[in-house]
Amino acid sequence: MEHRTHPIDGIAAPFLPAPFSAWFATRGWQPRAHQLELLARTQAGRSALLIAPTGAGKTLAGFLPTLTDLAARPKRKPGAARRGVHTLYISPLKALAVDIQRNLNMPVAEMELPVTMETRTGDTPTHKRQRQKHAPPDILLTTPEQLALLIASPDADRFFSDLRFVVFDELHSLVISKRGHLLSLALARLRRMRPELQTIGLSATVAEPDELRRWLVPQDTARALSDIVTVSGGAKPHITILETEERVPWAGHSALYAIPKVYEAIRAHRTTLLFVNTRSQAELLFRELWRANDDNLPIALHHGSLDVGQRRKVEKAMETNSLRAIVATSTLDLGIDWGDVDLVVHVGAPKGASRLAQRIGRSNHRMDEPSRAILVPANRFEVMECRAALEANYLGAQDTPPLVEGALDVLAQHVLGSACAAPFDADVLYGEVASAAPYAALDRTTFDRIVDFVATGGYALKTYERYARIRKTKDGLWRIANPRIAQQYRLNVGTIVESPMLNIRMVRRGRGNASRGGPVLGKVEEYFLETLTHGDTFLFSGRVLRFEGIRENECLVSAGGGEDAKVPYYAGGKFPLSTYLASEVRAMLADPKRWKALPEQVAEWLSIQRDKSILPRREDLLVETFPRGERFYMVLYPFEGRLAHQTLGMLLTRRLERAGAHPLGFVANDYAIAVWGLNDMAAMLKDGRLSLAALMDEDMLGDDLEAWIADSWLLKRTFRNCALISGLVEKRHPGQEKTGRQVTVSADLIYDVLRAHEPDHILMQATWADAAQGLLDVRRLGEMLSRIRGRIVHKSLSRISPLAVPIMLEIGKEAVAGDANEALLGEASRLSGEELMQEALEA
């Protein structure tokens, strides 16, 4: 392991109190260099970012400044005022807070330090929270949402009066979301209360450490940076790609072909952690492993939709090493080190090199021993992707996404929260907000519009002045209009908007309510349940369930059987291929010398492609056209990920429509887009009626994008999230569902009204910005369009090409795209038929 020492400019050597050096000595340890350096920097009053791989003793490093400071603190005299919280520890996961407490307990107990430590999460009972307010622990381990609630309470100033440190764990994962925006605003508030406050960020390796360094310190001076301590190296992981004699499928994500081999690997190791990208894949893999499980090995399932009790049971079993394998999604991604995992199997492509590194870090937490991992590609493109990721991991390449500007809906929530804590002065609050890195570029006009939005909705039509939620009073301060507003705020705090979920409750077969009262198995998205009818079966929690119906806010199921159970899909959870990996895959495709690293069957597939069509160069875009059946196809291979491809597909079909090519539909995956239509696009390209350069011109991101997007369900979904986070509509709480749909106002309806009457409303702007960054991946599409300018290679073929096979297989599998609802209604109406209708109408 190598510890890169930055010249410690004018920083004194760290002071490690005697109990600490004694403690290290009794355990036969040496404090690590980075632990001491971080200590020295914080003792010099600096804030710092620690970048280290898993197993490097990051947690202890992060808490040494706190523990040494607390150890030196004079005892509280009897009768003296209680002290407030000394250190806040913020983690993205509740489970992580609990885990860290367990890890810290050992040194604290062994050194007999006078330190109290407690967690505060959404699961903490009310009486404990109340008690924490009056008698705060020295170290409070909590989440971004709980912190937002704490700073919005009127006694925040007192509660944090002794705050010295804030430790952010897994900072790289916190900063990329709206949660990170909310957290940065809370940090800015804490800093205003305690200007001497120091921050410590703990992070895995990232592409742009300076972004995190800025995040940790106030941005009052241009681009201020925190200190940084970097630990590089660690043993190189030992990663292989699953070798198989089976045929690797052309398309799909289930990797069922690999089950026997995967099972063999599980048998050959103590504990195997199997990662998949989605909860649906987790369910499928779990079922198939149990089918193969002749030895009855203890294999468990862990994903975010399962009942909390069930998850805790699995975690407990991991801790005691009583499991042989766990199938998991990203809920186990982050630094939770339980159990003695000696193998990580990644099923499906990792989609990003950084994510792969993080997941592999789960195995073998001793930093000096290599981790073992096996990648299992689910289809042929994934074989290339896995290969690229593998090489990237060895190279230490990083592809974390760039940070985005602070979201306005989050700001709105914070502004209301500020007013709930105490009346605020707009100038002061603006200064505070702009000191948070994500909001450093926020202009005053936008800030004022947000304040106006919080007050009265921010509409051009000023009819709500008399109902304002916050009001500027004579002293120039903004106050909440009444205490009910604070109550509403508390119920709606946070930025995690889940799609509506229903509990799944087991009952006995057959309808009727008499059989109520079985166990709750977990939650599943309402969207999925809407596609089920009575008697349908689906896979959940590793079993086949029969759908009995929905009663109020619960989905009733009974034990089911049969082979063709559906698998629930979940919104989100699917990561697009990272830009970095995409470029590596293109490079591999272009370079036959590198095919030797690929399995024979994949290399052969690529060489047939070279013979029958073209293999594009790394920066080129290959476009193939060919007829098939009654239709004409155009297949493009941008390798820019599913989101950017879907957007491109939408825009491309619009343009083809205008050009008279009569496109009928399109399908997109991570690697390619296929468009089909009634007219011969190859012929149109040949005689100049169609031009690829014009079709793919960057100007498509202008008017076309706006025209399409405004009507798209994608934007409505984004708007719904913004409306919830900004407090325009209320979150649904358990038990409220009963009140019935007709009295709630759906975000869709609001969107329609707003779009028709005030399309420039601040929330519409926030929605647009969000969608462009997220669901549409407009930035990436734009970069791609500029990359391929003048580099489009068209190949006209008489039949389908080998490279086109995977995307062609996706046709028909995808649900009907975008705005097909009317067509479905028309179809259902025709099916309803004259006869049935006649019957219905006879009075």
Partner: protein
């Protein structure tokens, strides 16, 4: 005006029979009886946005204008002599009393010389003050009965609102939900007309016992037209 035929084109209006009367279900959510020159509209929920704003939810203040605008186009198209607003015309009493001047003026214009009837709803039990028109709990005309809340059990010829019926179909793994007219040929329940009004599935409990299920049909309001869907296809 197209009726019933499983046409390939989309209709903007469908003719149905209720207790022997012929009526037109319009895709915008109004019901028209040509023989009587009578138009029915239900659950306008005017000033709903303002009602929410008073409770701290600042919904866009454009719903009343939007609802009146759509109402104006249907009135212009059918030019009815009689209009029945089937209750919950205002989201609450406060809204009825404090509707901004320009909206009130517009509404008075729309009422004009028509024979206009306000049925009392549960949101606005008191008649709208100072507005033209007659107020009533219910109105009976020639075997038809117009009331806000559907009566329990069988009620031949009843035209009601209140429940905001919506219907859902599932096709090709996809679910489509829309507001609808719900009818079994004997009774008809109107969709809510207001711009910010949601809907409740006709298969949910509040509709239990209101229809002869085997004859239930939903006339779903699409973005381009109205679609007649057999009860057996609803989910």
């Amino acid at each position: 005006m197209n009726s019933l035929a499983p046409a390939t084109g989309t209709s903007t209006a469908l003719t149905v029979r209720i207790a022997g009367h012929e009526a037109v279900c319009d895709w915008r959510g109004v019901l028209f009886f040509p023989q009587m020159s009578l138009m029915v509209v239900s659950d306008l929920h005017l000033e709903k946005g303002a009602a929410y704003a008073r409770r701290g939810r600042m919904l866009p203040p454009y719903d009343t204008a939007a609802t009146l605008k759509r109402l104006a186009t249907t009135l212009a198209d059918y030019d009815p002599e009689i209009v029945i607003s089937l209750g919950d015309s205002f989201h609450d009493d406060h809204g009825a009393a404090h509707m901004p001047g320009p909206f009130r003026t517009r509404l008075v214009e729309l009422i004009g010389a028509r024979d206009w009837h306000w049925i009392a709803g549960n949101h606005d039990p008191a008649p709208p003050p100072d507005l033209p028109g007659h107020c009533a709990q219910e109105i009976a005309i020639d075997g038809l009965i117009f009331r806000h809340e559907p009566a329990k059990g069988n009620a031949r010829g009843e035209i009601a609102g209140h429940l905001h019926p919506g219907a859902r179909i599932v096709r090709r793994g996809r679910s489509v939900r829309r507001a609808c007219f719900a009818s079994d040929g004997s009774r008809l329940i109107m969709p809510a007309f207001g711009s910010l009004t949601g809907s409740l599935n006709v298969l949910d409990r509040p509709f239990d016992g209101l229809f002869a299920r085997e004859r239930l049909a939903a006339y779903m309001l699409g973005r381009q037209g109205i679609y007649a869907i057999a009860g057996s296809m609803l989910r």
